[in-house]
C-alpha cells in the first residue's frame, strides 16, 4: 500500500484493467496481490502444460509469471508503458503443482525509462527460483 491514497487507487485501477485485458495472464491462471505504485505480486500454480522435457517448470512459464508482474508494475502509475527488454536468471527448478509468486518492485525511473527487479519464489518453502530484471518505456500520455 502506498502512503498516497490517490496513487494507490490509480495503481489498483491500472492493474485491474491490465489483468482484465491480458489474455495470457488469464490463460495461465495468474492472480494478483500486493498492488502499490511500482509494486505488484503475481501468483500461479505450475500446471502439466507448463512443464519442459525434464519434467520441471518451463523457463518460459516462470518468465511469463514474472513478465506479467513487471508489466503491471510499470503500468501502475497510470501512464501506458511497454517492456523494452527483460532478462531472467534461473536459480532452482519448480515442479508440477508448485504455487509460485513473482514480486516486481520498481528500482528506478529516469525520464521515460523504468527498471524493475522481479524475484520468483516457491510459496511452500520460499525457495528463490529465478530473478528477473525488466526495462520499460512510457509510450504515451494518458487520455
Amino acid at each position: 500500500m502506498s502512503g498516497d491514497p490517490a496513487a494507490q487507487a490509480a495503481a489498483e485501477d491500472a492493474v485491474r484493467r491490465f489483468l482484465a485485458d491480458d489474455a495470457t495472464a488469464r490463460a495461465l491462471g495468474i492472480t494478483v496481490s500486493g498492488v502499490a505504485p511500482g509494486v505488484v505480486r503475481t501468483h500461479m500454480v505450475i500446471r502439466p502444460a507448463m512443464l519442459n522435457g525434464h519434467g520441471t517448470a518451463h523457463g518460459a512459464a516462470l518468465f511469463a509469471l514474472g513478465d506479467i508482474a513487471f508489466a503491471m508494475a510499470c503500468n501502475s502509475h497510470g501512464l501506458p508503458a511497454v517492456g523494452r527488454s527483460c532478462s531472467i536468471e534461473y536459480l532452482a527448478p519448480a515442479a508440477e503443482g508448485d504455487a509460485v509468486t513473482a514480486s516486481a518492485v520498481e528500482r528506478s525511473v529516469v525520464g521515460r525509462t523504468g527498471i524493475y527487479d522481479v524475484a520468483i519464489v516457491r510459496d511452500a518453502d520460499g525457495q528463490l527460483l529465478a530473478e528477473m530484471r525488466g526495462h520499460s518505456r512510457v509510450v504515451a500520455h494518458p487520455t
Copy 2:
C-alpha cells in the same frame, strides 16, 4: 544440415525427443524446422490467448517461442543442457494471426557453457520482432 551425418542425425533425434517431451511447446502449437547441431528454428502462430492488454503479441509468448528454440539448440549435441539465463529485447509488435519464427544459432561453447543468439521474425514480411541471447550449461554426460 551439418556436414557430419552422425552429428546431424544426433541433433535431429535430440530435437525430436525434446519436442515430444515439452508440454509447453505442444500447448503453444510450436513446430520445428531447420535442425542442425547448434541450430534450430521454431514456428508459432499468434493466438488470441497469446495477446496482452494492448492487443498485441505478449512478450511472454515471443519469449516462449525463442526460449524453446534456444533450449533445443543447446540440447542438439546430445548432452543434456539447461538454460541458465536468457535476455530478450523487444523491437516491434506482432498481431493475432501472425506466423512467427525464432532462429536459434550457437555462438560459442566454452567448457560447459554455451551461448546462443535467437532472432524472432514475422514470416510475412521478415520484420524483426525481438532478439534474444541465452546461456546454457551442460548438466550431465549422456548414458
Copy 3:
C-alpha cells in the same frame, strides 16, 4: 554495518585486501566506503582520461566503478568469488570532474551463485547515471 561483528570484520578485511590487490581500482583512483557483508560503495572522480568522444564519462569508466563495487561485494563473505556476467544500463551522462558513487547490494545467493544490484549516481545531485546487475560464482573455499 552488519549486526554480526565477526561477519562485519570479515567483510572489512576482505574488501581491504581486495582493494590492495586490485591494480585497476588503484589506477582509477577508486576509494571505498560503507562496507558490510554483501554491501560495498565505491567512489571515483571522472578524469580527462575517462572521457569518450562525446566529452562525457566513458561507459567503460562507469562500468569499472560499478564492477569493482560488485566484485568487492561478492567477495565480502570471505569466500573467493568471481564475476560470471554483468550488465549495465546507461541512464544519464556524467562530466569531467563529477564525483560518482557506485552502491552494490547483494540481492540473493542461491548455492554458489550470487546476484548483485549496483546503482551509480552523481554525488552532487544524486542523479542516477547507470544501473548494473552482476552475477557471481564462488570458486573455492577459503584456506
Copy 4:
C-alpha cells in the same frame, strides 16, 4: 571491407574520428583494424594496471576493449549513436602481456536501435575470453 565504397569510406572516417576523440581508448593503448560498416575490431595488450586481485585481466579492462569496439561499430554508419545498455559474460581468464582482440559485428538495426555482438579472444591461441552484447540508439541526424 564493404562492397559499397562510399559506406566503407564513411565507416573508416567515423572510426578514425571516434578513436582520435576517445581519451579512454588512448589511455588503454587500444588500436583498431578490420573496419567496415557495422564492423570493428579493437586490440589491446593486458598491462599490469589492468589486473585484478587474482592477478588476471580485470573484467572492466575486457569490458572497455569490447565496449569501444561496440561504440565504434554503432557509430560507423556516420549517424551519432550512443550505447544504451551492454552485457558481458566472462568465459576464460587472460594474463598480463596477453594480446587480446574484440570483434564487434552488427546483428540488427530496427529504427534507431542497433544490436551488436562482440567476441573477445586471446590472439595467441584464439581462446574465447568473453562475449558481449550491446544495444545502441541513434541520437541525432548528422549535420
